[in-house]
Symmetry: C2
Subunit: 499 residues, 2 copies
Amino acid sequence: MRLTLRHTVERMVVGTDRLGGRALRHSIGAVPRPVLTSQADDFPRWYREVIAKAELADNGPVRGTMVIRPWAYAIWERIQSELDARIKAIGVENAYFPLLIPESYLRKEAEHVEGFAPELAVVTHGGGKRLEERAVVRPTSETIINASFTKWIDSYRDLPLLINNWSNIVRWELRPRLFLRTTEFLWQEGHTAHASEAEAHAFAVRVLRAVYESLLVELLALPPLVGLKTRAETFAGALRTWTLEGVMRDGKALQLGTSHELGQGFAKAFGTDFSDAEGVRRHPWQTSWAVTTRLIGALIMVHGDDRGLRLPPAVAPAQVVVLVVKDEGGAGDAARRLVDELRACGVRVRLDDRVEEPFGRRAIDWELKGAPVRVELGPRDLAEGQAALVSRARGSKEPIALDGAARRIAGALAGEQAALLADACRLIDDRLVAVDSLTDAIEQGRTGLAQLPWSAVGIHGERELANHGITVRCLRLPDGTATIDREADGLVAIVARAY
Amino acid sequence: MRLTLRHTVERMVVGTDRLGGRALRHSIGAVPRPVLTSQADDFPRWYREVIAKAELADNGPVRGTMVIRPWAYAIWERIQSELDARIKAIGVENAYFPLLIPESYLRKEAEHVEGFAPELAVVTHGGGKRLEERAVVRPTSETIINASFTKWIDSYRDLPLLINNWSNIVRWELRPRLFLRTTEFLWQEGHTAHASEAEAHAFAVRVLRAVYESLLVELLALPPLVGLKTRAETFAGALRTWTLEGVMRDGKALQLGTSHELGQGFAKAFGTDFSDAEGVRRHPWQTSWAVTTRLIGALIMVHGDDRGLRLPPAVAPAQVVVLVVKDEGGAGDAARRLVDELRACGVRVRLDDRVEEPFGRRAIDWELKGAPVRVELGPRDLAEGQAALVSRARGSKEPIALDGAARRIAGALAGEQAALLADACRLIDDRLVAVDSLTDAIEQGRTGLAQLPWSAVGIHGERELANHGITVRCLRLPDGTATIDREADGLVAIVARAY
């Protein structure tokens, strides 16, 4: 069975402004010196500086934890809202399962506990007393959710059972990085139970495509490489793991989301079964799937540039910021009118009329935060019946007539979104190179991703790559389509260093 | 200073169908025997049965934890969405703070740690090792949020700082009850910092009225008694606590929400300060405020009856359920058409066409779940061009012509909402009785709430009441207005047994 790959991306890019990214980049006002380390000089440092200066997140006091500040949390709210709609559209209902899981639950599925044991946070005391049984803070919820499924499922009429849980997760991180690897993160985890393996497989793939790929491409302008994980990289306790991998600006890969076919392992461990139409008791086939606040890290590392974050309008908390340069000659009033008009056009817009602060500093702040469009309006602009329109994606600045400006700006947002998607597609073309041998893949892995025949890698090759800090990100066919068959003719591996 | 009380409720009830609750209750189809213990026979048992049979929640495996099932979680999502809009409307931004708090943080505010120490869940091991400093699972976040505020606040220009966090909370419960007292629950907690005490006070009261009272009355049809907590009942570490108290059908009180004026205690403990306009360093004045998944328990105990839950349409996951009695003579198609028409009118509607299950059982299920309006449609109804319209709030059943039914049903939902609010107001009138003495208050406390002069209670009276399991729920003026002045002339105490 084959799954077409990247067709969504192609569809999105065709018909949009392919020249966007190549447009001449004007100098944008007075920027005396860079506020950020450049990506080329020190990418990890650039990443930390963007997060601090754009006020996205802070480290929490317990090692590896994270405070998500309002601007980044508003991005997460947009992701939640769009993702939740897609999850519900395929018939899944939300529920909530407990944070605390008895330690014995994890032990019921042997591979699962082996996978998660090193990362657990353990509660030993509650209400001033030592607990009879220790509880772990959920590192994932397959076990506790299966305990509920066992109560809820009795007949084939109860299937499919399609459940999603929005929650926080704790996995102890020894080398934390904000958004990418944090001891606590936010996510959704979907859990479903089906009467047959074929149905479970079809659902896992539907989530991969209709939920995750759709969200990544349409909302976040993050075109993923989609494929199957190798056995070594499969989720602890699953039959197979489908993955969506992103390509970052430093040439590393980032796993953006996964959809697991769990088989019957958890059902057997927890005694989850149902009577089929003939009255025979059978174990259901299950799936689980998740994306996390890590997506914010991907937004930063794919779209960010030396001036800061660049947000796709679809996910930006403010799509347009109207800056009052000086509140003289009616500029403030004109700006407020424009804000009202933009809001009436359905645009998420903010007014920045903090004229007591230097204009240049405010402009730099909004660049750092990645607001897609800035409209700068001062008394001189107003006298000419216009304002300056600055595109964060294209780095362009041009005059715009105030008359009818709101409608034109609202209409231009789709182009800003498409420009970022086109940039992200080019990034993959630049960084992903086809090679023939393990040696060439290791060389290519210094600066980007390599694609090579899976037959040239295999389990031994995976170990050799690991010695160079490289992992197989996914398996797929050479034309980019995904396949369930790990033995398929011509199967290729995408290998890379990864976050 | 006085705050007008219950005016919102009055405004809501005036002009709506005051007769709703008194309308003749028809018998609704074949109900061979009660599916629930009656409220009069055993209220706690009725409560547990409603939760189980309406599939609202289960007990989790760790003592006191809770699995929130899809129907109840969808109610919570409606509450979240409406509450979030109100919180943002007063200028508050969402953020996320860590689950795990260093134990030493709690000790920094003496009263605070004393209040919460007995309820803490403590993480002692992380990543396979004993932690150098133990971490508590947040029982509330004043301490960890103040640590961030200390970083974020430097100048009076940074104030007011208005932040809200949606999250899960753990407080070890020795006598757990689903939704009411659970070891883990979901909530929002707002935290704000202001330049002056007057501003902090005004904001705490604004939350009390424009956010919480508005939500309770308009969305949940739960008219609260609003007032000030006594010193004994004030939040650990706060100057004063404003509260919204609900009256349950068994005559007990339930605290529905609180808004605290924290003063400068946490700011001093965490070194949070700012330069005022003259450059003098000052501590900000703070507030915090929260409501929780307990609101679902209140919905059950205020609106529920011997047939199950009754949901106000504004919060119901499905406002209308269209039941196909038998899929013959085009009844199924007619039902699907009606569902489409209702959806086009903006109604949240579900189709129940599970005709392989007995009709009576499905009708009882939707009664248990509290769907506000049921439309029953079978071949006989269809032949007469009509359906049966069943109101859960009024217990009435009447024919409705199918032609134009969707618009009329959509229009009638406001009346269903008002009928429940009117019932809840009558419940308060029935259960809250004014008395003169502590002795009479104790007697009245057996079956309801008592209002008596605060001068007849005082600190000694509070202890005496406690011997009878009664607490002072709030202080206010006799006409129902709230006051900040605990020494005000004529101040009365509302006392009751409480959940």
